[in-house]
Every structure is written in C-alpha cells, then in structure tokens.
C-alpha cells in the first residue's frame, strides 16, 4: 500500500485557494446584450428621464418574467420535461394574490408602507405555497407517467393547462378580477428627473432576492451541484450514487413555486387578473428560455431582462410591434447562437 505523502495544509490550500490559476474567461458577451439593448434604445427614446423610467420598468418586468421562467428552464434542463402547463402555477399565483389582498384589505388600504409590505409578502408566500403544492400534484399525476416521451408531455401538459384554467374558473369565477395596487405602492419615486414606480422597485428587489437565492443554491450547495450536474448528464450523476430522480419532484415543486411568485407579481403588474393570465405570459416565457438557452439559469436571466427592456422600449416607440420585437430578438439570437445564449453542453 503506497503511503500518500503527508499533506500540508498550505499545499492543499494552494490547490484549493485563489493562488491557483485564475478562472478561465467567463462568457460575458450575452450579459453585454442587456447593456447593448439598453444603450441602443437611449437615442431612440430621446429624453433621458423617459429612458430611465422605461429602463427601470423593463428591468422590473424582466425580473418578474425571470422569476416565472426560472422554474421552467430548470425543470427542462434537469428533467427533460417541457411543461406547457406552467401557466397554471402563474395564474394560481395571481389569483391567490387577489384573495389575499381581499382578505387583508385593512392592511392594504392604509397608506403606510409596513402593513402594505406585510400583505404583499403574505400574498407572495401564499402564491409560492400554492404553486409548490399544486406543482407536486401536477408532477405526480400529469407529468410522471410520461417521462421521456416528449410528444406526450406536450399534449398532456397542455391538457393539464386546460384543466387548471377551468378549475380556476370554478373556484374564482370566469370574470376578470381587478387587482389594484395597495395605496402605499402606487405612484412613483423621483430619481433625478425620472419617475420610478414604487411597485417596480419592489419587483426588482424581490427579483434580486430570488436571483441571489437561486445562484447561491445552485453554486454553493451540494444539491445545487447535483442539479447542475444532472442537467448535463443525468446518467452519470446516478452512476456516482445519487438518486437524482428524488430531486426531480423537489425541483419541479420549486419551479412551480417560483412560477406562483412570478404570477403574483405579474398580477400586481397588470393590476387585473383573468383566467388566461397564465397563458398570456407563457408565450413570453418560452421566448425567454429559448433566448437564454434551455436549462441555463443565467441565460434565463439575460433573456428575461432583454425581453423586458425590449418590450418597454418598443412599447413606447411603436406599441403595435412589441410582440414582433420579442420574436425578432429571438430569431436574431438563434441566428447568432442556435442553442440560445448560454447553451447547456452535453444536450
């Protein structure tokens, strides 16, 4: 038996610490895309203050879309499941928010910030919980029987979306429900010349929290490591002794919880909730994750921010073309990188 040479703490530290060779160059080009879009719009918009307002609105929308889409892309990356029923969780989040706001009218009708934020927080929590729980059921009943069969997945999850939307109508009724922003969150804050809507601030903050939490989980925990490895090569992860299938359910539920959160914020953003609300955002989500690269969280972020910005700029400059600008952007990205901005290798 060979005796391994005794390791000194410093030699191992040297290997594991910063003195090792610097990390290879990180692919920043797609990140710059966000800046490029923002800067390109500046002259087009003309006024700086308007541009600032639009940019912030775009970032806020981007954050909301990112929250809703992050689950979708992760679920696809890890489990190879494309969930066309993702819209159900989004809609649930929005609807639950209406219920929570209705129940906490005392908190939200007051102009002070603290009770309002508390109500918003409760709504978001409820949205996540409901999304997660329904997600668990969805995975069990609808998705699990068709693992590995893409065509059936598409069909079945669409069926699930139909059923989900109808059940929402059963519980909340088919009519649209207004979701007015609470007193304390209406209006804007002035940053220099630009008006920044208060709600948008909240959205950006929530988005950042989610982003940080996601990045931390994915990059600093072993579970995150398993997920990232599983996205690349599920079989090898199992060969290393991990029951990754058990992780699937958890990831799916987390993804649907995030969708619920996204739905809650989206509902507040739109200020009106209809049963089709999930479907309306769904197309945007698909565009975002295609741009970002299926399975990539960072790509999803960039895609969402870029789409958010684009939608707001074009919405200001030529409102009729917003949908087209998004699709045009998607096509342009695909021409540049056919698998999206940050393709996950080994797919």
């Amino acid at each position: 038996m060979t005796d391994a040479p005794t390791a000194t703490a410093s030699s191992v530290a040297a290997a594991t610490g910063a003195e090792a060779l610097p990390k290879s160059r990180f692919d920043t080009l797609p990140l710059l895309l966000t800046a490029i879009v923002a800067l390109a719009a500046w002259p087009a918009v003309g006024s700086t203050s308007t541009w600032l307002t639009l940019t912030f609105a775009g970032l806020a929308m981007g954050m909301i879309v990112f929250i809703a889409a992050s689950g979708l892309t992760l679920v696809f990356g890890l489990m190879d499941v494309l969930n066309f029923g993702h819209s159900v969780f989004i809609a649930l989040g929005a609807y639950v928010t209406t219920s929570v706001f209705a129940a906490t009218l005392g908190w939200t009708s007051v102009a002070s910030l603290a009770p309002t934020l508390a109500a918003v927080f409760v709504a978001m929590l409820a949205a996540m919980l409901l999304g997660g729980v329904v997600g668990l059921g969805f995975e069990r009943v609808i998705v699990r029987p068709v693992y590995g069969q893409h065509l059936k997945q598409i069909l079945v999850t669409i069926g699930g979306a139909i059923i989900g939307e109808e059940l929402i109508k059963v519980v909340w009724g088919p009519a649209q429900i207004p979701l007015p922003l609470p007193e304390a969150l209406r209006g804007s804050v002035l940053v220099g010349d630009a008006a920044v809507e208060k709600f948008r601030l909240v959205a950006v903050v929530v988005g950042l929290v989610v982003l940080i939490a996601l990045l931390y989980t994915l990059n600093r925990t072993k579970i995150g490591l398993l997920i990232r490895a599983g996205v690349q090569d599920r079989e090898m992860v199992e060969s290393l002794g991990y029951r990754i299938r058990r992780l699937f359910v958890g990831v799916f539920a987390a993804g649907s919880a995030l969708a619920g959160l996204g739905g809650s914020l989206w509902g507040m953003n739109q200020q009106i909730v209809v049963p089709q609300i999930g479907g309306q955002v769904n197309v945007l989500l698909f565009i975002v994750i295609i741009i970002g690269g299926l399975g990539s969280t960072l790509g999803c972020l960039v895609g969402a921010l870029v789409i958010g910005l684009m939608t707001n700029y074009v919405g200001f400059l030529a409102p009729k073309l917003t949908m087209f600008s998004s699709i045009g952007l998607m096509v342009a990205v695909l021409v540049w990188r056919p698998q999206g901005l940050y393709p996950v290798t080994n797919r």
Partner: protein
C-alpha cells in the same frame, strides 16, 4: 373495387367505425333535410370545416410527427384571404378565387420557411417557437385594422349565388329551404369530401409511407436514402395548404372573419383535442373527433345543464358541472386519452377487432 380505390385502400377496418363514419357522412349530407333550423346547419358546417382542418393537422402531427402550434395561422390566412378579397375587390367569384389563391400562396411560403426552420432545431424548440409565431400572427391580424378589420374582424358579402337571400325555389323542398345557404352548405360539403379523400390518397401513397417511416425513425429513414428534409418540408406545406382551404370554406360559410374566429389558441387546442381524442395518424380520427368536439361544444352544455340543476345546491360541485365548464371535462377526457387511448377512438375501435 371502386370504393376501395376511392378511399385509397385505407378502409376503416372495423365494423363499428365504418358504421359511425357512414352515419356521419349521411347525417352531414342530409342535414338541411333531417335537422331543421339554422343552429343545426351551423353546427354541421362547423363540423365539416373542422374535419378538414383536423385532417390537415393529422397529416402533420400523426403522420409526419411534427408538433406545430402555428397551424391555425394558415386557417386564418385562408379565411382572411376570402374576407379581404371580398371587402376590397367585391363579392364576385373571381375575387373569391383570387383571395383563395393569394392565401394559398402566402401559406405555402410561410409553411416552407417554418418547415425548413423546424429541421434546424430540436422538436421541443420548434413547438415553442411555433407557439410564439402563432401568437405574433394573431396579434398582427388584430392590429392591422385597416387591412384585416382589427379586433372586430371583417364582415363581408359572398357571391350572389351563395347569399342567404337568394332563393332558388319558392317553397321548401322536403323541409329545407333552397336558398343561397343551402347551396353554400353543399358546396362546402362536396369540397370538404374531396379534400379528405385527397388527404387519404396522400397518406396512403408511397410519399405517405415514407412520412410514416420518418416519423418512426428518422435516422433509419435517412440511412436508407430518403432525404427527410424534403419529405418533412413537403408535408408541412401540404398540411398548411389544406388548412388554408379549410379557412376558405369557413369564411364562405360565416361571411365573417376575425382574429378569434380562426387564429385564437382555443382553436388550436380544439384541433389538438380532435386529433388526439379521435386518433392520431388515422385521418378518420379527424372525422370522428370533429363530430365529438363540435357536438360537445354546442350540445354538451345542454346536457350539463340538466346535471347542474340536480346538484345546484352543492357549492363547488355545482360549479364543476356547470355547463360553462364543459371544457374542463373535455380537458380531462383529453388527458385520459393521451394516457389510456394513445391511438384515440379510432385506434381503440380498430384494436377491438383483433381481440
């Protein structure tokens, strides 16, 4: 046998299915006489149009194995072609022909582009992209109001011969009033019949067999020497053209077209439901499925009303069987079909024969 050749040797292969199909064809052929009233005629016309639309989708999904959500786009193009031609040029046969031709051309070009694009990306990607494209097209249609009538759509006139006001006989014949509607109905019926037979011919031709081989295993098909690119593209274009013609028929019947009539995602879902519940890759599934869906859409609600009144005091339950929630039950049926009847009603019936 002439009948065999007419159906391109693709027989129903099951007594019940044959009976059902014959019943459907006869019922549709004689609707003006058997089922009085405008509602019945409207329902029948809708069934006919959806049969063609679903059959064209089956060519794409069931036979070629391509999942595309952009199918309603071509449906809409056909309908708008007629609508715009009539509005801009005038309600003449020449204008109709021009509109239809222009629509077919546009559909051909678009489906060619989409078809070629589908081959460069993976199936899942493609499905999502077609969803986005269809969405964009619907938005476009509702925004180009000068051209398409926007959200409100276009109401237009059809050629004199087809107008409801045009009377061919003073007295009703065997219960049916012989007017422009009558003629339109039979025009649609005959054209649809021809289109379905044509589709049967296509899927049972050597071309169709190659499509099925590609659907099963495109690697092997390519290895044997078939240029899958070519076949898939042709199938995409053919499917789009048939859908366009279905749109033409619909427009002639409704004398109206708007974004919601042909381009909405609901229609896409309906087609999906029809093909899956009816049976993918069978063509006859489109027939059976269309009848089921359209009848359900129009008459199931009446049935559910009865059930609803029985449980109207039970809070949530009342909502669940409320006739407005018929789509819920259809959705459940759809999901169950995908799991337990992957080959649909037609497939099930055919499988019964072997037992």
């Amino acid at each position: 046998m002439l009948l065999d050749r007419l159906f391109s040797h693709d027989r129903p292969r099951n007594r019940w299915l044959a009976v059902v199909l014959v019943a459907i064809v006869v019922a549709l052929a004689l609707t003006p006489f058997i089922f009085p009233g405008t509602k019945a005629l409207n329902v029948a016309a809708k069934v006919i149009v959806f049969i063609v639309l679903a059959a064209s989708f089956d060519l794409l999904l069931g036979y070629t194995g391509i999942v595309s959500f952009a199918h309603t786009m071509f449906f809409g193009i056909g309908a708008y072609g007629i609508a715009i031609a009539s509005t801009r040029i005038g309600p003449t046969w020449a204008a109709m022909a021009l509109g239809a031709l222009a629509a077919l051309l546009l559909s051909a070009v678009l489906s060619l582009l989409i078809g070629l694009f589908s081959l460069r990306v993976k199936a899942i990607f493609f499905a999502m992209i077609t969803l986005a494209v269809a969405s964009a097209f619907a938005t476009l249609a509702s925004q180009l109001s000068d051209f398409t009538g926007g959200e409100d759509g276009l109401t237009f006139k059809v050629p004199e011969a087809l107008r409801p006001g045009t009377e061919y006989a003073a007295e009703p014949f065997l219960g049916a009033s012989i007017d422009g509607r009558f003629v339109t109905y039979y025009l649609i019926f005959v054209v649809a019949l021809l289109l379905v037979l044509a589709l049967l011919r296509i899927v049972n031709s050597p071309f169709g067999r190659v499509l099925q081989a590609i659907r099963e295993n495109d690697f092997r098909a390519e290895a044997i020497g078939y240029r899958t690119v070519v076949y898939r593209t042709i199938a995409s274009v053919a499917s789009a053209l048939f859908a366009t013609l279905a749109g033409v028929l619909l427009a002639l019947w409704l004398r109206y077209n708007g974004p919601d009539t042909t381009l909405s995602f609901e229609i896409m879902l309906d087609v999906l439901l029809i093909v899956v519940i009816g049976g993918m890759g069978t063509m006859y599934g489109a027939v059976v499925g269309s009848v089921l869906l359209v009848l359900a859409q129009n008459y199931l609600q009446d049935v559910m009303k009865i059930a609803a009144s029985a449980v109207q005091d039970v809070p949530l339950l009342a909502q669940v069987v409320s006739p407005d929630r018929w789509l819920l039950w259809l959705g459940i049926l759809f999901v169950l079909s995908v799991y337990y009847f992957p080959s649909g009603v037609v497939g099930r019936l055919r499988a019964m024969r072997r037992n």
